[in-house]
Symmetry: C2
DNA sequence: CGCGCTGTTGAAACTTGTCAAAGTTTGTGG
DNA sequence: CCACAAACTTTGACAAGTTTCAACAGCGCG
C-alpha cells in the first residue's frame, strides 16, 4: 500500500479526455445525450487520472468535490469503522461511477482503491449539477444512476440478510459474469481482480469459507477455479443453487 | 392485509397540503429553501394520502411516478424474491422519503407498508425534476438525500456483514433512539412499530434470535422491554456492545 | 371470551468462524 | 533470471453462534 499523501506525483497522471469519443457512452453518464449535449459534457469531464494497482482514488474523510467514471480498470470501495472492522461495499468496473456516497455530507465516507491499473474520468460535481439543470436528459440519467445504486445496495442487503455462504458466492459469480458480458467479455471465463479475503468481506464471510465454497463448486463441476481464473461450467446449476 | 387493488376508496383519502406550513421542513425536502422557493414547492406537493396500518403505499412492480414524504406515521419497505425469501430493507419515519428505488427503472422495486396509521405527501417525480432544474438549493438537497440513502445502505451492509446478533440489535435500537430524538421524542423510551419478525428480517436474523437478544439485554439491565415498549436504561452499555 | 397472532424459551442440529499448518503464487532485489 | 520473502490460498479439526423445531404464554381483536 502506498504512503498516504505521496501518490500524486507520478501515478495520478492527468490526461485530456472526451466523452464524445469514448466507447463507454452507453454504460456511462453520457447515455442518451445528443451531439450538442455531449459537447457540453466534454467541457466538464476534462481530466483523467491513472491509478496503479493498490492506489487510493479517494479515502474516507477526505473532502468530496468530484465523482469519477471508470474508464478502464477495476475498483473496490470499503468502509472502515473505529473498532477496526471493515467491509467491502462494492466492486466497480468500467463505466460505473465512484463517489456518490460523498454527496450527502461533502466528505467521502468510504475508500476507493484500484484493484488493477486503472483510469478514471474526473467529474467535478458542482459542474455536473450546473449542467444537469440545463440538460434534462443528463439530470434524468444521473438520478437513475443514483437510484440504481440504491437498488443494487438493496440486493446486497438481501444477499447478506437471507443467503447462505454458497448461495452468496453463486450470486456473486453470476453478477460478475453478467457485468462482464455487458462489457463485451466472456460470460463464462474471467479473472477475479480481488482476493478471497475481499470477496469474503463483501459477502459477509471469512476468507476460508469463500475458499471452501470455491472448492465445493469445483467438486460439483459448477466452475473451474485456478487461483483468480474462473470458468463457469454450469450457469443454470449456479442459478439453482442461488435460488435454492 | 387488505385486498390488492381495493384500497383507494376509503383510506387513501386525498388532502390539500403545503410544505410552507408543515413543521417538518428541516427534516424534509424543503430544507434550505427560501419563502419564494417554498411557494413553488407547495404547488408541486399538493396532495396527501392517509394510510391505515397494514396498507401498502406502493408495491413492487407497480409503475413509479412519485416519491412520498412521510408526514406522520411509520413505514417499512421490503423486497421479495421469487423463491419466497424476503427482507425488510428499511424502516422509515416522519420526514423521510419513500420511493427513491423506483427512479432507476420507473418501476417500484420494493413494497412500502404503513406500520401504523400514516400520512404521506405525494411528490410527482417529473415535477420535482422540473423544479429542481429551477431551484439550485432544491436540486442540491435532493441529491444529498439520495446520497444519504446510499450511505445508510452501506451502514446496513456493514451491520449485516460484520456484526453478531446482539451487536446488530444494539445498533438498531441506538439508531431508532437517535432518530426519535431528532424528531423531538424521548431518546430512551419508545414503542416499536414492528414485530420481532420484521426486526429480524431487517437485521438478517430469525425472530427467535431477536427475542433472545432482547431478553439478554433486559437481564443485563441495558433495556427494559415490555412487548413493543422499550426503555433504554444504559446507552453507553449498548454502544460498547455494538463497538465490541 | 376465545382464537389467532406475536413473543418467549429450551434443546438439538447445522452453518460458519477460528485456529493452525502447509502449499502456492507473486513480486522484489540481488 | 533466480531465490527468497511476503502475501494469498487451501484444508482440517474444533468451537461458537445462529437456526430450527417445538411447546407454551400473553395480548389484542373480533
Amino acid at each position: 500500500m502506498p504512503p498516504q499523501g505521496a501518490t500524486a506525483k507520478v501515478t495520478l497522471e492527468v490526461i485530456k479526455t472526451a466523452c464524445s469519443n469514448c466507447n463507454l457512452q452507453e454504460l456511462c453518464l453520457p447515455y442518451g445525450l445528443n451531439q450538442m449535449e455531449l459537447a457540453k459534457l466534454d467541457e466538464l469531464v476534462s481530466t483523467r487520472k491513472r491509478l496503479k494497482r493498490g492506489e487510493h482514488l479517494y479515502r474516507s474523510g477526505q473532502p468530496f468535490d468530484s465523482i469519477y467514471a471508470i474508464r478502464s480498470g477495476f475498483f473496490k470501495t470499503d468502509v472502515l469503522i473505529e473498532d477496526g472492522r471493515d467491509q467491502v461495499t462494492g466492486f466497480q468496473m468500467t463505466g460505473e461511477l465512484l463517489g456518490l456516497d460523498g454527496i450527502s455530507s461533502e466528505i467521502h465516507t468510504c475508500n476507493a482503491v484500484a484493484l488493477e491499473d486503472s483510469e478514471v474520468c474526473t467529474i467535478p460535481f458542482a459542474l455536473l449539477e450546473d449542467l444537469s439543470r440545463e440538460i434534462h436528459t443528463l439530470q434524468k440519467h444521473f438520478h437513475k444512476v443514483m437510484s440504481r445504486e440504491i437498488v443494487r445496495d438493496h440486493g446486497v442487503m438481501m444477499l447478506l440478510g437471507t443467503m447462505r455462504a454458497e448461495e452468496r458466492l453463486a450470486a456473486f459469480l453470476l453478477n460478475l459474469s453478467q457485468r462482464f458480458t455487458a462489457r463485451g467479455y466472456s460470460p463464462a471465463e474471467f479473472n477475479l481482480r480481488m482476493t478471497r479475503d475481499e470477496i469474503g468481506s463483501y459477502l459477509g464471510l471469512k476468507l476460508e469459507t469463500v475458499s471452501r465454497a470455491f472448492s465445493r463448486f469445483q467438486e460439483e463441476g459448477l466452475i473451474a477455479v485456478q487461483q483468480k481464473h474462473i470458468r463457469i461450467l454450469n450457469t443454470p446449476g449456479l442459478k439453482k443453487l442461488m435460488t435454492h
